[in-house]
Every structure is written in C-alpha cells, then in structure tokens.
Symmetry: C2
Subunit: 604 residues, 2 copies
C-alpha cells in the first residue's frame, strides 16, 4: 500500500472521540514521518479505515488488513482501534519512490491487561510536557498504565486545595496544578492509557512534613530532602488526626484521578521515629502490634478503608503484603518474583516490577528475559495483572529521562503485550532500533537531544565517537563517584551517554557476520580518537588499536604471537573498568574478535 | 568567570522592557546550554549586570567586561544591551568542572545599520513557529531586519480584512492572521529586529488574482501557481481601480507593520499581458510610456505616492531603479554590485543582496568574501545601508529551512556587523561551527532534525556516513532532476544533506595538518559504506579506497606507480559529478592528498 501526502485515516465507523482523535494523530504522524508537503494534490489517495462495534468496551484486540487499496482496521472497541493504528504506523517504511506499508493480515491482542510505566517525578521534577510526550510514546508501544509517582521525600508534586502547604512548601514550586493533572489524565485517556497516582505513605514523606510537621512521628521542623535513600521521617500511625488528614487528601485526589486504582506506596518504611516515640509505642501495645511491620499493616488497613470509602482499589509495593490486608488490594513487586508469587498464591492480584527497573540502565535483553509469570503457579497466574517498568528519577532530568526510558521500554512493552514465546533477542534488538527511530516522530527527545548534550561539553566530533562507544552506568555505578543530590547538575558525559550503545551492538553483529571493513572503520575511528576526555579517550584508542591488530592477523592468516591474545585481554579488562561513571562498551566487539582469533589458533 | 546554575542577569539599570526580557532569555538560554538543575542552591552566584543611559536610542554599540566576579555590560541603548548579551552567551564554554566565560574586554558596534534576512514564505509556507525561532537565531548573530516576503505567485500569506479573498483564495489556508503578524512584529521588536514586509507587485501576483482577477492585465480566471519562475500575470497599471485597491491594502498593511520601510518587490515583471492588452497600450500612449519599463516606473511612482501617504519609505528590488523614482526610495540589489553602485551614485540608498543568496547553497566562504561596499565609490558609501541574505523557498520546507539558512547566515551576519578587515576564512569556519552548535540552544532545528530526516529514508548508520560526506545542490542543481512544484515532497537525501559538510571540512583540515589517523578513520568508514543509495554509496566507497591507498603510499614513502595519481584523479572527477541532486564533497580531501603525493613525487 503506497503512503503519500494525501494519506487519510477515517474512524467514522467507530463512534468514539478517542478513535476520531487517533485518526487525526495518525495522519499527522505519517505526515511528519514522511516529510510530506503541506499542500497536497486532490488526486484520490489511499488511507486507513477503522470500524468498531462496541466503542466503550475495554477489549484491546484488533484486526488489521493492509493491501494495495488501503488498510482496514476492525476492533470491538475504540481502544482496539487505537492499538491497531499504532501497528499501522509501525508498518510505514521507505520504498522505491516514496513510502509504503507491507500487505499484511494481523490479528492481535494483549497478553496482560496491565502494561505500565512508573514515572517518578519527585526526586527530579518532570514538567507536564515531559509527561505528555512520554504518554504519546507509551501509546505507540501499546502500554496502558501510567503509574505516576507523585510524592516522595524530595517533593510533593500535586496542588492540593485541601492542604495547600503540601505543594506550596513541599515542591520548590515544581508541582502540577489540578488543571494540569486533569489535562494529563484526559490526554492519557484519549490514548487508551489509565493514570494511577501514587502518594507514597507512611515513609518517603519528608516533603509532606515541611508544611505539616504534625503528621510526622517526630516533631520536626522538616526540610525538603535533597539526597536520596531511606530516611527516618514517617507518618504517625497512632494519631487519629493522621487518618483525618489522609481522608481529606485521598478524597480530594480520588476525584482528581478517576481511575479505580490508587497507589499508596508503602515501601521502605524506616521505623526509627516509631521506636523513639513513647506515644506510638504505647499505641502499638494497646493495639497488640508487636512489630513495626504490624504497625504498618494497621496503618495500611486504615488507609485501605479510606480508599474503599472513596471508591478506590488500593495498590501498594511488596511491603504492604501482610496478614490482614483486604483481598482486593493489588501488590506491586519490586523485590522479586518470589514475593509476587507468594501474594498471588494467597489470592491477591499482582503486578511485577522486579526485573523492569529502567533506572538501573541494564541491557534491554535482560528485561526482555523477565516474564511476569515466571515462578507463579499456574492456578495463581490469572491474578497477575501484568507488569510495570519503573523509572526512578534520582539520576534523570527532563532532558535525559527520555533516553533512560526509551527505547528499552519498548522491549519490555513487547514482553507485556506479545505471546510468551516471542523471545528472539536479536530480532528484538533490530526491531527496538526501528521503534526507537520511529519514536522521534511521536515527539520524544531521546535521540534528538543527544548531540546537543555532547556539544555542551565541547570535544567536537571526537566526543561523539567516544560517547557512541560507552554506556552510562545506572544507580549503582554513580553512587560513589560524586556526592549526588537533587541540586547536582546532570550535564556530564554519563548523562548524555546511552544505557546501551546502538553502534557497539552493530559492531558485535559485524563480528558475527565477519564484516571486517565495518570493524576496521570503527577501530580506526577509535584509534584516532583524541578528545579532552582522558583517560577514557585513551582507553578507546587502545581498544581501537587492539582491534586493528586483531583484524590484520585474521586477514593475514598468521597466528598471533604467543601470549599476545592473553595480554590484550588483560588490557581490555583494565580499560573496561568504569571511568567517569560510564563503561567502555567498545571492548565487547574487540573481545569477540580476540576469541575468534583464539579459536582459530586452537584449530591449527 | 564561573557560570553555574545560579547564574543571574540583571538589566535593572536599563529601564526598558526589551532589556529586562532579554535578561530573562539569557538566563534561560544559559540554563539550557549548561543543562543545569531545576532546583538551585541559595549560595551567591556570579551573573551579568547591564546598564544603559538612553534606552530608546537606536545606537547598537556596547561595552562588555567579564571578570572572575561577573560580567558588566554597558550600552547607550537597550538594543545595545541586547547585542552585548548575545556576545556574552557566545562566551560560555565548558571548563574543568562546569562552565565559564573568558575574562575579556569588548568594545563593539555594527558596521552597517541594515543587517537583514529575507524569508520567502510564499513558495513554501512557513508557520509562525518557524519565523519565531529564526528571529531568535537572527538576534543571536545580531541581525536587525527581517524582510518578510509575504506574497508571490504561489501564495498571499497575510490575512486582509479589507480584501479577504486575498488570503482566503490565495493561500491554500496557509496565511498569518493579523494577530499572528502582530505577535511576530512584537517578538522581533523585543529582540531589536525590525520587520519589513514585502508585497511583490506588479508581477509575481498570480495568487492575488485568484480572488481578485479584476486586478490583472488579462481576464483570468487564475489559480494559485504551483511551479516557480516568471509568469505572465501582472497587475493592470492602466486602471484607477488598481491603485484604489492598493491604497486600501497598503493602508491596512501600513498599520499592521509599523516599520517605516515597506517593500513592494517590483522584480521580474513579465510584460506579455501588458503588450497584449489594447487598453494598457492605449493608456501607455496617452501617458507617453514608450516601453514596459516606463509603464512599470509609472506604476512604481503611483505606489510610492500611496506609501508616502501612509507614512512609509518604499523599498524595491533593482528593477524599480529608474528615472523618475523619488529619492527616498531604497534599492535592494539582487542583480549585482554594479547596479547597487549605480543607484548609490544617483543618490539612492541601497542594500546589497547579490552574493548573499542562501538558497543557492553555496559555501559560506563565498558569501563571506562579498562586501556590501565593493565597487561603491567612496562618496556614495554612506548611502549603502547594509546587506540582506535571501532565503527563497522553492526548495525548502518548514523542516529544512533552518539548515538552509544556518549556519551560513552567521558568516554573512559577521560580514554585516564586523570590520571590513575581518576576513580570515579558516577562523570564520571554526567560529561558524561553534555558533551553529550554540544555535541549538536558541531553538533552531538545523542540527536536531538531521538524523530524523535520514531515518525517514532508512539506510541506518551507513546513510549517516554517506549524508555527512555529500553536499546538497542549490536551485541550479535541482531544476532538471525532477519536475518540482510546491506539491512535491521535500523528503529526500538532498533535503537532509547540508549545503556544506562540516565533517568534510574537518578532513580538509586534517590533510593540512597531516593528521593521518583521522583521515584513515574516515576513509575506512567510506570504504565500508554500504547503503541502498546507489550509485552514490559506491562512489563514496571508491573515494575511501583511493584515500586509503594514498595514505599507505604517503606512510611507506614509496612513490606512486606511474600514472596512478592521474588515474585516481580521473576517477574522482567522475564520481564528483552530481548524483541524486547532491555532490560528493568527500572527494575534496582525497584530491588534496593526491596533490600532496604528487608534490612529493616531483621533489624526488
């Protein structure tokens, strides 16, 4: 099917504004992606026609048929139409004289009903436009839940008209107005995405206490926290006024966020304040709460009752899973599949996040291999709603967050949507790169702002070569290097560098197919690299030099001198140690080449 | 002077909103460029303090002193403060642990009072955001006139309340509302930029006649023109109703555009309709107008009188310079320095555009060498107001126009501002690249959307290597390749490719300093290049292969085999012929290397 400037999408046969709006967005995206003229001729053009039978249904399945005369999309619901349009957008590709979509028949439906991204906007503030463009990207990979982590020690990010000191004193002025929240919720709904808010209690609440110290278990005063980790401030579970306050706030937020799920966090509660408070200890004895865990369970039950009153289903992290929790609660597991399986076995519904922590900056292949049902017994499987990737924001800014979520999120989204048997990692990487490029047209900045972030550092073209050859370290790799706080600028090489190097992946592929010219070009560029970023730049040049010599030996057919391979491997080990909070991914294809040399030597 | 997240700019001592607003913009730009944290500590930070003595003066000079404790900017006027702030922004650079500006003392003023960019928004429509971001970029290089080419055969781009069929029928719906015009004018004024509108008459007026055929010299009906060139439709100079219409329109536009200059075009009038019209010929005889040129002069005099009535000074292209033109008219020369000199000698003021046609996609060095005063006799020099670069929009879209104007416009802007003696081309290229990167932070898309335009075409990393090694051909190189009209999509390699290749420039520099590793890296990449873009890709591989062999000979010190150099030069000549509307810039450094080899052989 040819796709031209006159491409049109029609959802007239799906009586739902979401479908109509999606048709306009599809046209606009295809127009951008094609680079089409603003003025088009009036010749008849091919297009996509969508229909649905029950617009308001929640069924996300769809059927798509593309042929020379156009595309036909049918679904039960409007959301199904949305999903199918995203598939169509992925089909657009350059052809001999323009663009086309392959003739195809697709019958598609999601494996899990809950396919989420958790976005922390507390540790680093994320303006509305960041949220909106990530919603567009989520829709592009058929995610359907934005879990919005709206409060933590470092900031309370929503305007409260009931308790205004929450956002006024707890956010540095960086919060979403209620009008903005409504806009985000509507924007998400138009894309078939639910918004589940999280207000993390009773720990991770320092920012609440700046304005309302009376909520805390120790007197205060409190300041917005600039560091991260687990801090002592925790809500006072022993005072009725705490629950009255929460009733007021949750009631207000329950209206603002219409989704039926409501997340209360509940993770990482430090009990020092509780233990040090005679009043809380007395209260615990009166209520036969023997441990801090039991105190938290008491707290959770009270909160759960409040949420039920406001028509909400409670969601919490692992720690809320404890005896006495009402069975309608949903457990989100960050600690591992085992705890999720345990909760499911006891009849709770669950969401897996362990293994999907994007902020660890691990390879997509690692996340891709994690299955939400791994370790869950068959009979409990239906209680696993799905999964959620997590983007904690200790080390991300509005400028860097896109590149930390994307494109790896796309691989996880496939795990959540597609059949369990779809596990070919190489295929995933090829497709992830294509999706990554496509997300440019959706409005993400993960690729477009990369060069600017390097330009900022000086170093010119050489720095680009270096940056392409390294990978940024995640939270573990950054902890010791500097004293990070939310006041530290995220404007260094590690912030520009990608979690996974696309160009190094291509070189690994080149080794596999023995594409020596491509390897020589890369190694030569590394060997010539000369930037002010020492000693990294020198390490890269070393890797390039070793690669070039290995290539020469492979081509000449002469064996490597004795011990040469081992010596080079030792050097590679040395230079592959983290430097400047990044790791030299470039050593990987060089190592592979040395292994090939070694194997050949053994065969001799 | 250290520049940190807490950088502040104060213009409290310059009582002018333009200066205050510019201070806020400077802070925002520095914040973006630095990648600074949204939350800053409250420690005292360095900043810039600006003062002026006569805010409303037109004097653009300023004095800037930067030292460890901060920057001090003094100027007579608010506009001078604006200019000095742009200089300060250019000083920001990465330093050991953050950013800094060099300690410096600058006394600066412009050479010419009229430093313009002409933007054609008729042949291809440019939405308001394109105009706004280019105004920001203009301000960054201290340009002060936007010459807005608002009407032509292909579109009438301003809402007229007096003659609404102009924009309703003459624009495909792509026009600026009067409110948008006011916004653009105010946005420009806030940046010290005047907006001079051009309504091109009596030729280039097809789009006017779609709604008002009675203005034309032949009956019509008329359609919006999709091709470009010189067309027959021209206004009827013999009817009083034409001047009544123009009086109404010019009166309306004179209010909308407050600048005292008003451009009437006047170029390229085709006289076929005039010659074919008995009424016009009769009229000409009655008024003793012997030639079509004399008819146009009559028309111009009538229009000039109307403009004077509305308080405007008329500007026109070369062709309006004719006996009888009132001396307050300004002549803009597109045909050459000679015609400008002739007009200046006769007492007219002039602006040079010949030699500054950005749409020709010529090297910046070529434009940089053109001086507005070349050929102008000393006594007439004071009548040359300055110069204007021209961006005609036959081959540009909102997506590509930034990369066709920038960064070459910056080199021309320096010609208009700096002393005539500043002519070091290498220095210009180094600084132009730095300015180009800086313009990212001003909001231009000339660099950020490059990769996306390549992604659109498929071809992956290899296509980037190819695109970096070619240069787009200008209007002359495109005329014969396809049948271009305004309906043809501008989404091919030639549209993504830059007018001048930065990376090839770097390789030419590498040849000059005998940096063989850098050359080897580039040649290896070219030699390995393999994209679907044939035969270009094969040509690039050929150039890479020749380069690699030349490097080997240079390094070995062995002479080239007999005739080898001549044979390679022949091959380079063949592959340097335009293909796919681009030219292979990559041959240039290879040619230089062969010359070096040849010179060495002669010395032997």
């Amino acid at each position: 099917m040819a796709i031209t400037a006159g491409f049109h999408a029609s959802a007239a046969a799906c009586q739902d504004s979401r479908a109509q709006d999606a048709a306009r967005r599809l046209e606009a995206r295809i127009h951008r992606q094609g680079g089409f003229s603003a003025v088009t001729s009036h010749d008849p053009q091919t297009g996509l026609t969508a229909a649905c039978s029950e617009p308001a249904a929640e069924d996300e399945s769809y059927q798509l048929d593309v042929g020379p005369d156009g595309a036909k999309l049918t679904a039960r619901s409007a959301i199904g139409v949305l999903r199918g349009m995203e598939t169509f957008a992925q089909l657009m590709e350059p052809s001999a004289d323009g663009f086309s979509a392959a003739a195809i028949h697709v019958e598609d439906h999601p494996r899990f009903a809950w396919r989420g991204l958790m976005l922390d906007v507390s540790r680093h503030w994320m303006p509305v436009e960041v949220v909106l463009r990530n919603l567009d990207a989520m829709a592009a990979v058929k995610l359907n839940v934005l879990h919005w982590h709206l409060s933590d020690d470092q900031g309370f990010r929503v305007e409260s008209k009931v308790y205004p000191k929450l956002h006024e004193l707890g956010s540095d002025g960086h919060y979403y107005t209620q009008q903005q929240v409504r806009e985000v919720v509507a924007y998400a709904a138009a894309r078939g995405i639910r918004v589940v808010p999280e207000f993390d209690i009773p720990g991770h609440t320092t920012s609440w206490f700046v304005g309302y110290p009376e909520l805390a278990s120790a007197p205060g005063p409190y300041q917005i926290e600039r560091r991260w980790g687990i801090f002592e401030p925790a809500m006072d579970p022993s005072r009725e006024s705490t629950y009255q306050f929460l009733d007021g706030l949750l009631g207000e937020m329950a209206v603002l966020f219409p989704d039926r799920y409501f997340h209360i966090g509940g993770d990482e509660v430090e009990d020092k304040q509780w233990k040090a408070s005679p009043a809380i200890q007395t209260f615990a004895r009166q209520h036969r709460l023997a441990t801090s865990e039991q105190i938290q369970t008491y707290f959770n039950q009270r909160v759960q009752a409040l949420l039920q009153k406001h028509g909400k289903v409670m969601v919490g992290w692992d720690e809320v899973f404890a005896p006495g929790l009402a069975k309608d609660a949903v457990i989100q597991s960050w600690r591992g599949a085992a705890s999720l399986a345990a909760a499911a076995k006891q009849g709770y519904r669950g969401i897996l996040s362990s293994g999907y922590y994007l902020d660890h900056l691990k390879p997509a292949s690692l996340h891709y291999a994690v299955d939400p049902l791994a370790g869950v017994p068959e009979e409990a499987a239906s209680r696993i709603l799905g999964g959620e990737a997590c983007m904690w924001s200790e080390y991300v800014s509005p400028e860097t967050v896109d590149s930390r979520i994307w494109p790896r999120m796309a691989a996880i989204a496939e795990r959540f949507w597609s059949a369990r048997e779809v596990t070919d990692v190489n295929s995933m990487y090829m497709r992830m790169e294509a999706v990554s490029r496509g997300l440019d047209w959706v409005g993400l900045q993960h690729r477009t702002n990369y060069q600017g972030m390097l330009d900022r550092l000086g170093g010119g073209a050489g720095l680009r070569i270096l940056a392409d050859a390294v990978e940024a370290l995640g939270i573990e790799g950054r902890r010791d290097e500097r004293k990070y706080t939310s006041l530290v600028d995220l404007n260094r090489l590690v912030d520009a560098a990608r979690p996974e190097s696309e160009s190094v992946f291509h070189l690994e592929q080149a080794v596999r197919r023995s594409d020596l010219p491509t390897l020589r070009a890369a190694f030569s560029a590394w060997a010539a690299n000369d930037t002010p970023f020492q000693p990294l730049s020198k390490s890269l040049a070393t890797a390039g030099g070793i690669g070039l010599r290995a290539l020469a030996m492979l081509e000449s057919g002469k064996p490597a001198p004795e011990n040469w391979i081992a010596e080079q491997q030792h050097i590679l080990n040395t230079i592959s140690k983290p430097q400047s909070e990044v790791v030299l991914a470039a050593v990987r294809p060089v190592r592979m080449l040395l292994e090939n040399l070694g194997t050949r030597a053994e065969r001799h």
